[in-house]
């Protein structure tokens, strides 16, 4: 298996470049639907990075939530803004400069954080090749049920999981309630 080219790295760079290139395309594009399309490609490349890292569950989650969520975003974008046939958005120079400043600051902080954590520096090729393949879905599930497989005391995230679940349920019910109330009022007026 000793080869000159380390293919995982090649694929990592391939998907990373795709993700970044389409992220830049989102910023530079003026048409809202094309933007959404580029955003989907960028997020899908991120999902590919997760699959590359062996995190099947997170990758599928990325596809379902982010890429699927962009779909809904796109629909709202079209429905709420389509006064003309093709909507284009123009950004003023001041907005652009502020956005570049904020974006650059965030990028700097993230890069600094990523480099400064010693655990994130990677293993090196020999150590990486020695790691065994483990399933990810079952440990995640066990962790959410309160029995982490990698923790010494088998602690877990049961309470947090329950709080988030109930919170999401409340949000869902609230959304349904709001949509319903609006419908009643409009029918009463009309």
């Amino acid at each position: 298996m000793a080869e000159a080219i380390y293919w995982p790295t090649v694929f990592f760079w391939l998907f990373a470049v795709i993700a970044c290139a389409f992220a830049v395309a989102v910023v530079l594009c003026a048409n809202i639907v094309r933007m959404a399309f580029y955003l989907v490609l960028s997020l899908a490349a991120t999902a590919a990075l997760f699959f590359l890292a062996g995190a099947d569950f997170v990758g599928a989650m990325q596809l379902l939530i982010y890429v699927g969520g962009t779909l809904v975003l796109l629909i709202f974008g079209v429905m709420l803004t389509s006064q003309d046939r093709f909507v284009s958005m123009k950004t003023s120079r001041e907005e652009m400069s502020i956005a570049i400043l904020v974006g650059a600051c965030l990028l700097a902080v993230l890069v600094w954080a990523a480099v400064s954590v010693p655990d994130w520096n990677g293993l090196g090729r020999a150590a990486a090749e020695a790691l065994p393949l483990e399933p990810t879905a079952a440990p995640i599930g066990m962790g959410l049920l309160g029995a982490r497989v990698d923790a010494p005391d088998r602690s877990g995230y049961l309470l947090i999981f329950e709080i988030i679940s109930v919170h999401l349920l409340v949000v869902l019910l609230g959304a349904a309630y709001l949509a319903r109330a609006q419908q009643k009022r409009s029918s009463a007026v009309g």
Partner: protein, 399 residues
């Protein structure tokens, strides 16, 4: 397969060759499947409407009809409406097709010793449902970029429909996952080994009910009649593909037939025993890897035939439904989803949980205790988890 090839040729060549074989097989499954299903659709429609369907092209039964259709489509002019968004208009059919193809990538076609699967994921169910939901993206792009109000209406309807039907579809797919205790499709299929009463559809009354809900939602999510509002010709000319012609148009249809086959195959793995036939013939004949690799391989081929037969039967039922039931209105479609499918699926999910809790081994099924086995295999209280890097995980076999 790639591991096998690396013994003889360099690794990069082996992986490329293995990937190429998988891709060619799956694309052929979609393309040849579409050829066959379009012919079948005409025949089924004909028989249901008391006529013969195609009879002339290619001799008996008109079995070359689709090829003639294909030739016609290739020779058609590739039109694009004035004022359309060129880039999105051109790319939309491929987006649909890619989603439908990617779903088949994680779908196993036979047994667990050496499964016929392009990419064995341990979250297969989840991946397939996530990817199938993306097919609608191509439809929305097509509808929007066509610069036609019919297309846009069709796309919006499709979007509303698919987004709402994903909820009950996911709830239904969770039930077999719950019974098997795994999201790995190969494992779920192998839980149902043995005779017909081991299939999850006969596991308990709730799974029997939930199968029909799944089938309804699957029909809706692949946009087939009676849920084909996105292309309702009586109101919307042809819906989202009004402006498409020729080969681009046919890509939408290949995608549609591909995802019909994908949801049918998924249904057969989740509920109908997957690659296990109604009678365990393969075991009686000794077609397992324990005996000889060649016999095991034959058993796998038999399993592949089994699951494809189940998939084709599923698609045929969808056609039967299409030519029998009238098209629903959009409010009826959403009502069916939110007022019937979601509550039934939720109750069945709770019921199946309760059943599993009361009779963990089922009444007839011998459920393996995979979760507990997994638990014992985990390292006992490690000091710290080794930090995983992308490269490390990748080397461990993510590609």
């Amino acid at each position: 397969m790639a591991e096998f090839l690396t013994q003889y040729i360099p690794a990069w060549l082996a992986y490329s060759a293995a990937a190429l074989v998988h891709i060619v097989l799956l694309i052929n499954l979609i393309a040849v499947g579409a050829l066959f299903f379009i012919w079948l659709e005409r025949k089924v429609a004909g028989r249901i409407q008391d006529r013969l369907g195609p009879t002339r092209v290619g001799g008996k039964f008109g079995w070359l009809q689709t090829l003639a259709d294909g030739l016609k489509l290739i020779t058609k002019e590739d039109l694009m409406p004035e004022g359309a968004d060129e880039f999105l208009f051109k790319i939309a059919p491929y987006v649909s097709f890619c989603a439908s193809f990617a779903a088949l990538m994680a779908l196993p076609f036979s047994d667990s010793d050496m499964p016929f699967v392009a990419q064995h994921l341990n979250v297969g169910v989840f991946f397939i449902i996530a990817v199938l939901g993306l097919e609608v993206f191509g439809v929305i792009l097509a509808g929007y970029s066509s610069a036609s109000k019919w297309s846009l209406f069709g796309a919006m309807r499709e979007a509303a429909q698919v987004v709402s039907y994903e909820v009950p579809l996911g709830m239904c797919a969770v039930v077999p996952v719950l019974i098997a205790g795994s999201m790995d499709l190969v494992y779920i299929g192998d839980c149902q080994a043995g005779p017909v009463w081991n299939w999850f559809i006969f596991h308990d009354p709730f799974t029997f009910l939930v199968f029909w809900v799944y089938f309804t939602c699957a029909t809706a999510s692949v946009n087939r009649a009676p849920f084909d509002l996105a292309e309702a010709e009586s109101e919307l000319v042809a819906g989202f593909h009004t402006e498409y012609s020729g080969l681009r148009w046919s890509f939408f249809f290949m995608a549609e037939y591909g995802s019909m086959l994908a949801v049918s195959l998924l249904a057969s793995i989740l509920f109908l025993g997957g690659w296990h036939g109604p009678i365990p013939v393969a075991n009686w004949l000794g077609l397992t890897f324990d005996n000889r690799p060649l016999l095991g391989y034959l058993g796998n081929v038999l399993g592949c035939v089994n699951i494809l037969a189940k998939g084709v039967i599923g698609v045929t039922v969808m056609m039967w439904v299409r030519w029998t039931l009238p098209r629903l209105r959009i409010d009826q479609v959403i009502t069916t989803c939110l007022k019937y499918c979601v509550p039934i699926a939720a109750v069945c999910f709770l019921g199946a949980t309760w059943w599993q809790f009361m009779w963990p081994n089922g009444l007839l099924l011998e459920t393996p205790v995979a979760v507990y086995e997994l638990r014992e295999n985990w390292p006992e209280a490690p000091a710290a988890n080794p930090p995983a890097t992308v490269a490390a995980n990748l080397q461990r076999g993510a590609i």
